[in-house]
């Protein structure tokens, strides 16, 4: 119970920090915020920074280059806007990865029994199915010495989706029986 409250408090603090970072429009303050998040990350700083860059790089690069082009056409300086937007995106994304690393979301959502159950069931199923999806992808790669054709990739995707649906429904039936036998629906 004590731990659950700790995680719920961190969830609230995270929500507050997110709101604050979107209300601040001064790049120096956002840079300080980013520095604070990185200090709080401690030994995980490299991992969090790399994950952040992996997530935001493509989108931010597209937006930034597009805006530079637009600014050139309009004869305005793009740098103030780009520094502000990119600093904000970096701060918020690093903060989210720090939150993911430090907070147990299942305990943070412990205030709702239904929500926790749904999250636990969906997350456990998603992890299992994600692994299966990766297995299917690797199976296609390992069985095709040359690059698979578009038709082959469509067929592989369709077979994976069909298998996942079948597995999902069978899993739903088993989970239903397990929940009923443990009295979950009696309350």
């Amino acid at each position: 119970m004590h731990r659950a409250n700790h995680h719920q408090a961190l969830l609230l603090a995270y929500a507050g920090a997110i709101l604050t970072a979107t209300l601040v429009h001064e790049p120096r303050h956002l840079a300080l915020g980013l520095l604070l998040v990185l200090i709080l990350a401690g030994r995980q700083i490299t991992r969090i920074l790399l994950r952040t860059l992996r997530v935001v790089l493509l989108f931010n690069l597209t937006v930034s280059l597009g805006y530079v082009l637009l600014a050139l056409l309009r004869h305005i300086s793009p740098w103030d806007t780009l520094i502000l937007i990119n600093l904000r995106v970096l701060t918020l994304t690093c903060l989210t990865f720090l939150f993911i690393a430090r907070v147990n979301l299942f305990q943070a959502l412990g205030f709702s029994r239904t929500l926790t159950w749904l999250l636990v069931l969906a997350y456990s199923q998603a992890l299992a199915l994600k692994q299966v999806h990766e297995d299917f992808r690797l199976a296609l790669v390992s069985r095709t010495p040359i690059r698979p054709s578009l038709r082959d990739r469509y067929r592989a995707s369709a077979a994976a989706a069909a298998w996942l649906l079948d597995k999902g429904l069978a899993g739903a039936h088993q989970t239903a029986l397990a929940l009923r036998s443990r009295g979950f629906f009696d309350a």
Binding site: T22, V63, L121, Y123, Q125, L129, A161, L164, L169, F185
Partner: protein, 215 residues
């Protein structure tokens, strides 16, 4: 359609969260009324399936890929409210457990993809089903992708107007509607074709599986 954090202003995401919270509450209320040993795991499993479907990349000519979402399949199979909750759960899991998609964009995405996508798909399917089930399913899938894309394009494209500094420079997403509408609608009109086919095939396959599991 996944928007990272930092591109949506608080003037947009706070009202979106308020609206979403009301809809989530209504959805949970309706779900609890239907909650039993059949519905709870079914919703959880279909939520997980939607999560994985978003990872199954559909190759497009030219080397690019697009992912399915399964929103129309959820809407025609489970109804609007359950589909809305399921898609919201997927988006929340992606944002808070895997860091994919922004937390500030979560409510906007949930409203656009989860609510508008599910509602438009369900209405299309219900209206056209008596005429031709296959066409109704395909169009439900197409609409469930294109209408949310339109909504997200409007939200993003209005950011420079909603949030700007004293000099008129954008504080969040910097492009207007002239950029966002074609940039989002054109690829999603194509993605919708694939989503429509997925909905049609998925629904037929799901119906067959249900009959097999029932016997």
């Amino acid at each position: 359609m996944h928007i990272p954090d930092g591109f949506i202003s608080p003037q947009t995401y706070l009202p979106a969260y308020a609206l979403c919270a009301g809809l989530w509450w209504m959805g949970m209320h309706r779900l609890r009324a239907r909650l039993d040993e059949a519905t709870l795991p079914y919703v959880a499993v279909l939520t997980a399936l939607s999560f994985v479907l978003m990872m199954v990349a559909l190759p497009l000519p030219g080397g690019t890929t697009a992912h399915a979402a399964g929103i129309a399949l959820l809407a025609v199979s489970l109804g609007v409210w359950m589909a809305f909750l399921a898609v919201s759960m997927v988006l929340a899991m992606q944002a808070l457990l895997f860091g994919d998609g922004g937390i500030t964009a979560l409510a906007v995405n949930a409203l656009a993809m989860g609510f508008l996508g599910s509602l438009s798909a369900r209405i299309t399917w219900r209206l056209l089903r008596p005429l031709h089930e296959g066409a109704a399913l395909w169009l439900a899938g197409w609409v469930s992708v294109v209408l949310p894309a339109l909504a997200v394009a409007l939200v993003l494209g209005l950011q420079p107007v909603i949030a700007q500094d004293a000099a008129g420079k954008p504080l969040f997403f910097p492009f207007g509607l002239r950029v966002t509408l074609p940039a989002l609608l054109m690829p999603h009109a194509l993605v919708g074709v694939g989503e429509g086919i997925l909905t049609w095939l998925g629904y037929r396959y799901l119906t067959r599986l249900r009959q097999r599991h029932a016997t």
